[in-house]
């Protein structure tokens, strides 16, 4: 074992940017993932999840910043079979059988796991002789997972692996991933399903408009949902003043509308009604979904006060 790799992080992104034309898909991401972590990249479509995963896999190169996977470049890590992935867009040949697809892919690796073993682990041993074109979307996705198991990778990256699957396919897929992760595999998966991130990740990284807006353990992110949201119509709101109120964790101003995330909604409401010209004051209990939406919605610039740092996950 080369000493320089022995203690490397699974993923180390430093100030990574990537644009497509005028769209800043990834706009300054720093990410450190330890070996053994199971992390979700959670965010709505267009938040930069796929672009981030593509750069981790060497399918795209950052315009700025550095990407290191297990202490080496992504291409090197893929070449040595240390990293594998299940992508939304990775295609399969419809005219091969499931087993042929796995055998063919296995032949590319220096020291692959046995074909039957990965078929079993992915839960598709019974489909081995079926043509890929005759497999359902969920079955094809488990085949991609089987292919990703071949090199016995340290890091497994999954990009929206259950998109387009039915409920049963989704459950079967995640149970295969979970069984695998229990043995210590490092897993990074992108999803826009909150439940998936909550159920399967130890750590949730929330992305919005190409930036990380929250990063913490699943329970820390869940805590973001405690407290209430106070909304009111108020022109010329003093953001700094509102931020200093007791219990306030975030203030967002959208035109004449202010949205204040707080642990003490009474204090905020009293202040708004007695010391400002606020109208239409609403107090709403927040759930995880609200936290997610509040942190990831695209209709507003990312303000400093939006950033809910919820502690160091590592």
């Amino acid at each position: 074992m080369p000493p320089e790799h022995g203690s490397a992080a699974a993923i180390e992104l430093h100030d990574v940017h990537r644009s497509f034309g005028t769209v800043r898909a990834v706009d300054g991401i720093d990410l450190h993932l330890e070996i053994g972590e199971i992390a979700a990249l959670l965010g709505p479509n267009g938040a930069g999840k796929t672009t981030t995963i593509d750069m981790i896999l060497g399918l795209g190169r950052p315009d700025q910043g550095t990407v290191s996977v297990l202490g080496m470049g992504p291409g090197d890590a893929i070449g040595r079979g240390l990293v594998a992935a299940v992508l939304q867009t990775g295609g399969l040949l419809k005219d091969l059988t499931v087993r042929e697809t796995v055998r063919l892919t296995a032949s590319i690796y220096a020291d692959p796991r046995p074909v039957d073993e990965v078929l079993e682990r992915a839960g598709i041993g019974h489909l081995a002789d079926r043509l890929v074109g005759k497999c359902s979307g969920g079955e094809q996705q488990r085949l991609r997972f089987a292919l990703a198991l071949l090199p016995d990778p340290i890091l497994m990256a999954l990009d929206e692996p259950t998109a387009g699957m039915d409920v049963e396919g989704r459950r079967d897929f995640w149970s295969a991933i979970r069984r695998d992760a229990e043995r210590g595999r490092t897993v990074l998966f992108a999803t826009h399903y909150l439940e998936e991130a909550d159920a399967y990740a130890d750590r949730i990284i929330l992305l919005r408009q190409g930036r990380i807006v929250a990063d913490g353990t699943a329970s820390e992110v869940r805590n973001l949902s405690s407290g209430r949201s106070v909304r009111a119509s108020l022109s010329g709101a003093d953001e700094a003043m509102l931020s200093r109120l007791p219990g306030v964790r975030a203030v967002e101003i959208r035109g004449d509308r202010v949205i204040i995330q707080t642990m003490d909604s009474d204090a905020v409401a009293r202040y708004l009604l007695t010391s400002t010209a606020a109208r239409d004051v609403e107090i709403v209990a927040r759930n995880l979904e609200d936290a997610f939406l509040a942190l990831t919605s695209d209709d507003g610039p990312v303000a400093a006060t939006d950033r809910a740092a919820v502690g160091d996950a590592a």
Binding site: R80, G91, L92, L96, E100, Y109, L147, R183
Partner: protein
């Protein structure tokens, strides 16, 4: 289950596969896949035979006396056509693989682009070889007679055409979307073949076509393939034609391939 495949907590010292991932299992599965595609096999192996039988029939009626010579040159020309049709189809399979996203899937493996392209070219040339063998068998059954050395020499040289056109197929495969790649390639190859004198001896064609012929990518390969039988002077421009066209197609294929798979 957890004990069977322990995952190390630190990064093991693993290496990339030899030869960029090129291996015989991959090749064998690719060839099996090709044979499973009946339409390609029928078009590339059976069509040249039918074409040969038809043209030979006409020639016998048209030019009694020179029959056997034209039968042989037609057979060699058709073998070249078969080899190029097969090799182009084989190379153009990349277009289907791109459309299905397989190329992207392969980029998640250690397979190097050069290994992938080598496998594609070998598979395309295997189909080309099958086409030449079948056309020659049809020729032998239909009374074509040559010295055994000339059979082998012309056959191998006709097969050489498939190397030129495997590059052409890859080029087309990266250039065109899969749904119409063969619709475009079929007529293009037929024009190459006709103007290069593969179907009908050039001397029977109009002057204009005879003048265009030497710049066709088929002209050099066909002339070289027929040389062991026809004899006479070897024209070095034939070789030049083969080299220039092969380099041109290969360069175009490599350019498009890099554009397609560039990491970043």
């Amino acid at each position: 289950m957890s004990g069977e495949m322990p995952i190390p907590a630190s990064v093991p010292d693993r290496h990339a596969p030899p030869l960029g991932g090129f291996n015989l299992t991959f090749l064998a599965i690719e060839i099996r896949r090709l044979l499973r595609n009946r339409r390609t096999v029928v078009v590339t192996v059976i069509v040249p035979v039918i074409l040969f039988l038809l043209l030979r029939q006409n020639r016998r009626l048209a030019t009694v006396g020179a029959t056997e010579i034209t039968a042989v040159t037609t057979m060699i020309g058709i073998a070249v056509y078969g080899a190029m049709l097969a090799a182009t189809s084989g190379g153009a399979m990349v277009s289907i693989e791109r459309a299905q996203g397989w190329s992207r899937q392969l980029r998640l493996t250690p397979l190097r682009p050069a290994a992938y392209v080598s496998i594609k070219i070998i598979v395309a040339m295997m189909l080309g070889l099958a086409s030449v063998v079948v056309v020659y068998a049809a020729g032998a059954i239909n009374g074509v007679q040559m010295d055994p050395v000339v059979w082998v020499a012309t056959g191998l040289l006709a097969w050489g055409a498939s190397l030129v056109f495997a590059s052409f197929g890859l080029f087309m495969g990266y250039l065109l979307p899969s749904e119409n790649v063969m619709q475009v390639i079929g007529p293009v190859l037929a024009i190459f073949a006709l103007f290069g004198g593969l179907f009908v001896p050039l001397t029977l064609l109009p002057d204009v076509m005879q003048q265009i012929a030497p710049i066709m990518p088929t002209y050099g390969v066909a002339s070289i393939a027929r040389y062991p039988f026809v004899g006479g002077d070897f024209d070095p421009t034939w070789l030049l034609s083969v080299i220039v066209w092969t380099l041109a197609f290969a360069a175009a294929a490599v350019f498009l391939f890099q554009r397609d798979t560039r990491r970043g």
